[in-house]
Symmetry: C2
């Protein structure tokens, strides 16, 4: 049977229209099965070269004159993200700050735009920083944070959102793809319900940008944020992005009045006068190296095409679930992701998940461990082969059969 599965993986790879994209990335250790899902995407070759030129030739030689070029990076990367990755319009997306800071800026702006409404809604399986930032915004304004109960394996339901909505809700903020299960939320239906209640909708796209189509324009989404270091492959700590629907830009004001948000930044005038465009959501001097990396990464994803990326991600996940059913369910694993409607990762539940994740690393397979007892397998479509899924799960099966994972301590240390 395992020979059949291996052949199946080879056939799937041979038929994969995105197979050649793997060559666009640096593959450091050929034997490593990289199923990180996806705290850090791989290094694109073009980014390595671009960063070298930016350091050696631009910073090293052009010096401060480099800003003539660098000042446009936030907008340039934003255009590629808007039109090539996120289904938004030009002028609606910018690179800026971290996801957490952007979430804060947009959440405050949204609450200011709905004065008198006293509730922010999120769900209990939203990513920690989202829950904390919203908790902080609510605390500072004496608002209520209404927390929807979410299903750990299947995500937040439209029914649960509807139940949380009333005319006291100012803002609803949820993740498009759940970081634990990979469940895809129904952006169209949820955004419509939120608008029917007169509230604003803020989507966190960290696990969907570059992996899943994001219908910002067609769903009429108000606000969104996301990172670029996962499926956009922009490197560790690369800047995040934020989206504000064009007709809301002049109406909303974010709270951190930095000079990059100023209408005429270099006039250095006496009073803050926010730009009439998306620029008002900028704050301070932007990171140039991360900006180049985000531009390169977004361009690569856009050239592959989000629909093709999503189709491959789904096929990779389906294959992983087939192998799970056959090889892993007998060893006490349970599927902790939806069988359909997933982002680019598949999550398995096992009471020994932490120890198993250590055993996998020893076997040159890198998964994510996620609390409390989950193994998250990232399937980044641009460079993950069906053969990698086969190889990674085959090594996992071997670990389970030999029970070698029991040698590892159950004490959890820090986990990224």
């Amino acid at each position: 049977m395992s020979v059949d599965r291996r052949t199946q993986a080879q056939r799937l790879d041979a038929a994969d229209p995105l197979a050649a994209f793997r060559d666009e990335f640096v593959i450091g250790e050929p034997d490593l099965v990289y199923l990180d899902g996806n705290s850090l995407g791989r290094l694109p070759r073009v980014t390595r070269d671009r960063l070298r030129a930016a350091v050696d030739e631009e910073w090293g030689v052009d010096l401060v004159r480099g800003w003539d070029r660098w000042i446009a990076l936030a907008r340039e990367a934003g255009e590629v993200l808007a039109t090539g990755v996120l289904g938004a319009d030009p002028g609606e997306v910018l690179l800026a700050d971290s996801t957490s800071v952007n979430l804060y800026k947009l959440a405050v702006a949204a609450c200011d735009a709905r004065p008198g409404r006293r509730v922010i809604v999120t769900d209990d399986d939203n990513f920690p920083t989202d829950r904390y930032v919203l908790e902080g915004v609510a605390a500072a304004r004496d608002l209520t944070l209404r927390v929807i109960r979410s299903d750990l394996d299947t995500g937040v339901s439209i029914a649960a959102v509807r139940e949380a909505l009333d005319d006291d809700v100012a803002l609803v903020s949820l993740s498009h793809v759940a970081y634990r299960s990979g469940a895809i939320a129904d952006v169209d239906a949820i955004t419509r319900a939120v608008h029917d209640a007169g509230a604003l909708m803020l989507w966190d796209l960290c696990h969907s940008a570059g992996a899943v189509p994001v219908p910002l324009r067609s769903a009429g989404v108000d606000l969104a944020v996301g990172c670029t270091y996962k499926h956009l492959n922009a490197g560790p700590g690369a800047p995040a992005f934020l989206y504000v629907r064009s007709d809301l830009q002049a109406e909303l004001r974010q709270p951190i009045w930095g000079w990059f948000g100023q209408r005429d930044q270099f006039a250095m005038g006496p009073a803050y006068d926010p730009a009439p465009s998306m620029d008002r959501f900028l704050v301070g001097t932007p990171p140039v190296l991360g900006g180049y990396a985000a531009l390169c990464g977004a361009t690569l994803s856009a050239s592959a095409g989000i629909d093709r990326i999503f189709a491959k991600s789904t096929a990779l996940g389906d294959f992983a679930i087939e192998l799970f059913d056959e090889w892993l369910a007998p060893h006490g694993f349970a599927l902790a992701s939806p069988r359909s409607g997933r982002g680019a990762h598949v999550t398995l539940h096992h009471h020994g998940a932490w120890q198993i994740s250590q055993a996998l690393r020893e076997a040159s397979v890198i998964p994510d461990y996620r609390t409390p007892d989950r193994l998250r397998l990232g399937l980044a479509p641009l460079y993950t082969r069906f053969a990698d899924v086969y190889e990674g799960l085959d090594r996992l099966r071997t670990i389970m059969e030999a029970e070698s994972w029991r040698r590892f301590s159950a004490n959890r240390s820090r986990v990224t």
Copy 2:
């Protein structure tokens, strides 16, 4: 006379104990006189090599495992800044976000710590982003922003600060070194006066960190922020730093409750519980490349020694002012910096400053133009030679004698 001045410059360079530090930097165009003051410091060789390794070997090969190392960068760079650059204690400084975002976080935290007090004080020549951010904090809380009149050439006086203080003031925020004139504010006296009024003091160290001794500990400063891309040579858009005096850390809470500020970040628990230390002032995932560059740059400055750096900066400025008196005053320039008590730049006033700055660029001299009519000459002590001061001002004298600057348009385009 000009031969004498050239000889003087050569003698000063020969006696300079920091002369060898120039070799630590990439010098792209040997003929370029780089007097940017200082929107962007030069590229240290060690940083070029470190960034290449971080991209090629860590991101490219270690992948997500790199976070085992990267997670410490904000703290590690903070320790070097605290103990080697800023006169603070270990555990009081961290790398994070941009200067503007840090200023916002600390200003809100300070106002929260002085409930009932309704005034924030700053000065009218503070850097624009400082004024705008404080204006935003005041607007959101319905506080008054009290703006001290500052002297454009000599900075903010202790008398003016005293006049602005009363028991309604929550926070005073000023720049240590004025970005236009280079005037050094009296940190000791001003901080003491602010404390006497029961308010908190927040210093912006952008133009002093790495150039001027900063007596944070000895003056009992409460809060500070600053950037690393000027005199710390960390590259375009490198992360900023923030300082909170150790005894205030548990008391103050910043408003952006991101997961990097959480006590047990990777437990990913349900509610925000800020770290009991400086970590609570962190927000989102930190930029790794900028973090390495800041660590390298801070280490280089610390190894040169801030007292030696400041002594050379003063000597470079004194020499520039001698040449100004002799060569430039006759051409209608006026000195717009203090003759003593300056940071690492000297600013000249001339009604044609914008055109002159263009003519200088054409002559391979890079100064800064600063509104409304100022030419700022940066004298970064780690790589600027007395011969560069001679050469740059000699070319400027030639431009003035030939009146060649009048060929340039007086229309100002964007200026960084």
